[in-house]
Symmetry: C2
Subunit: 201 residues, 2 copies
């Protein structure tokens, strides 16, 4: 979804190749992605993995996701790293805990600890965003990744505690490129139901 | 240390400003780093946080950390994101667990789980590195970040289980730029002992 959204923002067409959970761990896919995950991205001879790297590659080669001014551009890239290195990890930790440890005796004691760590990040982020529409001037690849990271919280009550961030996510989702990507993504899942298909781009 | 090493690789001089643990959380520092962490980087009007973003900014503006060929350059940046988004988070999780949960009754059961997650990443990384010196051709900003991430494991036995990765880290540490950065960093800590000083660049 992240890569799709980026491609829709810059108006580039793309083909999608689905990768099953099983084939993700097989040598053919690991040749593209050494950690056996998705997404991967292929463009001519170039093969990339890591959503952040793929989005940055798209943003550097097409107008629409990075500002022209050098300092503003560095700031947008900074928010890409902040989304993936600072805001996402505690959110992923909570997901892991939910899926792998929710039957463990310690889960009820650990969950509030994990959620407080997420809250601390959200509070700082909300404070920095303030009354602005986007993190660094105009909408950029930094916002695209940050909105995608925050959307991982949708099954929880955490995002709702920060109205400015809920509104920020809603602004991202209201973009026509997001809607096109979301509809296309939904169509894939509707079409592959029963296959447990996942998407690689 | 990460930012120092990058600056030493490209031969740029720099001044260091120390930030205490206490002042990291105060408004003046948060104006530079909304999450109240280090490092931050100032260059004229530009203020950056996030090690990855700072290293990429340095690498884009000075020769020595990114290849000229466009695809090789995208590959090096991909490894920067892989270091920070895929390899580092489980290592940080283990550190958190060690500092915050080692007296908890569940720590002994969770630790092997966390270490197996790290092992899984190291195994994939070692497999991809194979017999190469560096991850993507010549030494790049991707290697710089990956070596720094792997060095976080030095207090554990995990790195030693993967001889190819131990040798990879040793190659990084043998670079003259690394040594200059390490010595300069050590001198700061020697000079501020008792202040619990941390470094911001």
């Amino acid at each position: 979804m992240t890569v799709r959204w980026a491609l829709e923002e810059v108006g580039q067409s793309y083909d999608v190749r689905l990768v099953s959970f099983q084939s993700m761990k097989e040598p053919e896919h690991r040749a593209l992605h050494p950690f056996g995950q998705i997404p991967t991205y292929e463009e001519g001879e170039l093969v990339l993995f890591e959503s952040g790297a793929i989005v940055l590659h798209i943003a550097e080669n097409h107008a629409g996701l990075l500002p022209d001014d050098a300092n503003a551009r560095a700031g947008a890239i900074m928010w890409m790293f902040a989304a993936l290195s600072t805001v996402e990890p505690p959110i992923v930790q909570r997901e892991f805990s939910h899926y792998l440890e929710r039957d463990k005796p310690w889960h009820n004691e650990r969950l509030p600890m994990l959620e407080n760590l997420i809250r601390s990040r959200l509070e700082d982020l909300s404070h920095r965003l303030g009354g602005s529409d986007w993190l660094n001037g105009s909408f950029s690849a930094g916002d695209l990744l940050m909105v995608q990271v925050l959307r991982r919280l949708k099954g929880t009550d955490l995002l709702g505690e920060f109205p400015a961030l809920s509104a920020y996510v809603a602004r991202g989702e209201a973009r026509s490129a997001f809607k096109r990507a979301f509809d296309a993504q939904l169509a894939v899942f509707a079409g592959t139901q029963g296959h447990r298909g996942e998407e690689g781009a």
